[in-house]
Amino acid sequence: MLTILNTSLIGITAGSIYSLMALALVLVWRSTRVVNFAQAGQAILSTYIGYEVISRTNNYWLALPVALVAGAVIGALVDALLIRSLTKRSANGPLASIAPIIATLGLLGVIRSVVGMIWGGDLRQYKAPVSNIGFTFGHTTIPFSRYNLLIVITTIVVMIVFTVIFQKTSLGLALRAAAFQPETARLAGVKVDRIRTVGWAFAGATGAVAGVLITPQSGLSPNSLDSLLIYGFVAAVIGGLESLIGAAVGGLVLGVGLAFIREYVNSNLEFPSTFVVLLLVLLIKPGGIIAARRGRSA
């Protein structure tokens, strides 16, 4: 019984981070119809910037917002300088239509190399701002620490903030309109190009938060977020790629599912299982668990 609880707790923490990464991918997919593989690169660069803040000031609470803003700026720049001109030409044939996606793969390589040149390939570490040792009840220590709680709460806060922005503000209405029907949005006066860049900025900020949160547990290297990109992508596909709720649910389902496979089946199967899940979702319910139509309105 305790093992089931412990396994679930491990899964929920991991799943929260997957949800954040999934959300970052969904925000870009919704706004531009691009699967942004560079998200891992943007997040790693933002996390290194956060790492620099921590090494200088020893202040995690300063590093988090700095990385968040850096992530937003990087995301906006990627869209404004690269993706926007590629998507404009996407009607010029089959290669041109997938060019933005391929470009994000290229960009991932570029960012990783640049990060490697600046900071080197060694694994770097910084400490969590609160205890990373599990809560103890009597003689039992559970695998859920104050820091894990921080991760889960931060994820919930991010989800709530985005839900409020999307549902209750004019910016959110413009973001949704531009995502659903860009031409209709333009004819109503929405500056769709700018709005898309805002979507990329939001995504960049979210990815940065995921990177800063996971690093005390995973360490930091130029490719330390690569597996998170894959987990986040699979979580986003489980959730239908369209909705915030889908990203949250997809992340949690994947996190908890993988934790159980590691605990009860075979820890070597964790990574391959991710891809099996991806294939099963695509084969059985290609629209994702949260149906796209319903999910989109959220």
Binding site: A177, E183, R186, L187, G189
Partner: protein, 237 residues
């Protein structure tokens, strides 16, 4: 005074010349119906006028300012609103959100609220369905919503692309009646693109008949309707 002046406008659609040296004018406060069969170049004409399609040659001015080459979102800010055919509401949004979209760029939020209540007075059925998803609306209601959204932007020039498309005759009559009453009340200049020549010319001041991208005839709608040759060849009644 001619408010909208289109001269020698030429637009290619792939390898096809969709609009071929088209010239016409629309007076301020006038309702002009652009009549033509399927493929005459009507939709391409509107898309070229509002920056959704690039033009090959020619010019178009609204109140003396060139409008070609401007982005649609900027034309909206100059009072030029294009209601595209068919799917110009966003089904994933609620009726109210679709309406709010029309005022999203406007600073004067008080007037946006006023315009919204005027639209609901004009189309009471929208008022009853504000919180419903636009997906649940009938074809006629969707058209009302699309026009209503444009009105919230306080247009001076309204370009309507086939508002009668796919609607039942009775609904078409209601929509056209609404278009006519609102444009008279608000002093709007309207370009109404239609295949449905009879209904359109009934409410229009002027008619512009095009075929294969070229101008066939232009004039007062009453004169066009009474020309037997035009009636037989282009107006279909």
């Amino acid at each position: 005074m001619s408010a909208l002046i289109v001269s020698d406008l030429t637009v290619d659609h792939g390898a096809i010349r969709a609009v071929d040296g088209l010239s016409f004018t629309v007076q301020q406060g006038e309702l002009a119906a652009v009549i033509g069969s399927n493929g005459a170049g009507k939709t391409t004409l509107l898309r070229a006028l509002t920056g959704l399609k690039s033009t090959k040659a020619g010019s178009a001015t609204w109140k003396g300012n060139s409008i070609l080459g401007q982005k649609p979102e900027n034309l909206v800010r100059q009072g030029i609103l294009h209601v595209a055919d068919g799917k110009s509401v966003i089904p994933e949004l609620t009726v109210e959100e679709n309406l709010n979209l029309g005022g999203i760029w406007r600073r004067d939020k008080k007037d946006v609220a006023l315009a919204k209540s005027e639209v609901i007075d004009l189309f009471p059925r929208l008022g009853e369905r504000l919180s419903q998803s636009a997906d649940t609306l009938s074809g006629g209601e969707r058209q009302m919503l699309a026009i209503g959204r444009a009105l919230i932007s306080r247009p001076e020039l309204l370009l309507l692309d086939e508002p009668s498309l796919g609607l039942a005759p009775l609904v078409i009559e209601q929509i056209f009646h609404a278009i006519n009453s609102m444009r008279q009340r608000l002093g709007l200049t309207v370009v109404l693109v239609e295949q449905n020549a009879m209904s359109a010319l009934k409410i229009a001041d002027a008619g512009i008949i095009i075929n294969l991208g070229k101008l066939v005839a232009a004039g007062k709608s009453a004169d066009l309707v009474n020309d037997p040759a035009l009636r037989a060849a282009y107006l279909g009644y």
